[in-house]
């Protein structure tokens, strides 16, 4: 019972940190839209082309946006020393990481889900592709959150270098991208591919907490 209160308190704080006001949420989405604009300009506005590569672009951009939000993971709490305080209140680092992943998923990734249908209009995507996109994105973004956690905790060790963590995310998300984009091109076997994606998500949900926790512990003892 007490433990549930603690977790509730944790999420209340996270949500306050993410949304000091609604503009924050909004500007994330605007950012996403703008980067799509950029791509459309850069690649040319040929309608047929856009249709072919639409899903690919959307996925890659989601990936890059989530790299941008990496710093929201641990950095500040680590510098403040508040990670230690939370840990000392009886939450193991592993659980802490897990909670952080969930809150990143809820507060950073899900808002993008809202914007997906609108984005699809830009690319003239057919309805069933949009539908697939939303499903795969739902699972995929959980994976991205796990990856984000790993690389954000890695960044704590090396404060000079922001790209290092980003590289990790990118490296591991190559299979993710292949699958997710593949889903939209596959005629049959949709369920099969989605199951695979869920499998990957579960694996990462298993790996991320302990590896992030290990990095965090290391960072704290060398601070």
């Amino acid at each position: 019972m007490f433990f549930i209160i603690k977790i509730f308190v944790f999420f209340r704080r996270e949500s306050k940190l993410f949304f000091t006001n609604i503009t924050d949420l909004f500007s994330n989405i605007v950012f996403f839209f703008l980067s799509i604009f950029i791509f459309v300009f850069a690649l040319g506005t040929d309608e047929q082309l856009l249709k072919t590569i639409g899903v690919g672009i959307i996925w890659s951009l989601l990936l890059l946006s989530s790299i941008l939000s990496l710093r929201k993971f641990y950095e500040e709490d680590f510098n403040n020393g508040i990670l230690v305080i939370i840990h000392m209140s009886g939450i193991s680092y592993e659980l802490l990481v897990f909670l952080k992943i969930i809150s990143h998923f809820l507060f950073v990734q899900l808002p993008f889900l809202i914007s997906l249908p609108i984005v699809s209009i830009f690319f003239n995507l057919p309805t069933n592709e949009v539908y697939n996109l939303i499903i795969t994105f739902f699972i995929g973004s959980l994976i991205l959150s796990c990856l984000g956690s790993i690389s954000a905790s890695m960044n704590l060790l090396n404060k000079t270098n922001f790209s290092l963590g980003g590289i990790v995310v990118l490296l591991f998300s190559i299979p993710l991208i292949i699958f997710s984009v593949g889903i939209n091109n596959a005629e049959s076997e949709l369920i099969y591919l989605i199951n695979l994606l869920i499998g990957i998500a579960l694996i990462f949900l298993g790996i991320a907490p302990w590896s992030s926790a290990a990095f965090i512990k290391l960072a704290i003892s060398n601070k």
Partner: protein, 202 residues
């Protein structure tokens, strides 16, 4: 009762401290003094197992703390030299968060009273990043009373405080010691409290 047994810590093969033995009985207040860079802050962190010791054991109420670390943490408040309040949240939100983490029994009224004694009431809804250095320190120190733990470990609690706040802090220390609490702190300042055990750490 906290017992520290032959604690050593090395960083990159440099001794930071070696074979430290400390025992803190209930109702005892202990100050660690020493030169800059002598390893006081590090010692506190090692005692709390935030950083792992190289060798040595720590016993809390007779049990090795590593056996059940959360049991130890459950009775400890650590006020570090750094600020642990989230700069973007208001004073009230921060307190509420700490309160939720520590199952504090204090109700909202008590907290308002507490804020009053520390002269922070008017900042209730201000983000902590807008507080002055001393005010943030006082907010941190609030956690001592809020969390109601037995063992207090503090790193340079007197920094930034004005004279009135120092008096309040001293009184808080004395009250806690009288209630069989244990206090371990580092400071270069010598507070006018009777019966402080001083550990010279050089």
């Amino acid at each position: 009762m906290l017992l520290i047994n032959d604690l050593s810590f090395y960083r990159n093969n440099n001794v930071i401290f070696d074979n430290v033995n400390i025992s803190l009985a209930n109702g005892q207040i202990t100050q660690i003094k020493g030169k800059n860079g002598s390893g006081k802050t590090t010692l506190l962190k090692v005692i709390l197992n935030i950083i792992e010791a190289r060798s040595g054991e720590i016993f809390w109420e007779g049990k090795n703390i590593k056996k059940n670390i959360f049991n130890f943490y459950n009775q400890t408040t650590f006020i570090s030299d750094q600020y642990t309040s989230s700069r973007k949240l208001t004073v009230y939100d921060n307190i509420n968060f700490w309160k939720g983490l520590s199952y504090s029994q204090l109700n909202d009224n008590d907290i308002l009273l507490l804020l009053g004694t520390f002269n922070l009431k008017k900042y209730q809804n201000t983000e902590t990043m807008y507080l002055s250095a001393g005010e943030i320190k006082k907010l941190e120190l609030l956690r001592l009373i809020l969390e109601q733990k037995k063992l207090w470990i503090l790193d340079e609690p007197y920094n930034h405080l004005d004279n009135l706040s120092i008096e309040i802090l001293n009184q808080t220390f004395i009250d806690h010691v009288n209630n069989e609490g244990i206090i371990l702190f580092t400071s270069h300042y010598n507070p006018p409290i009777n019966k402080i055990d001083v550990i010279d750490f050089n």
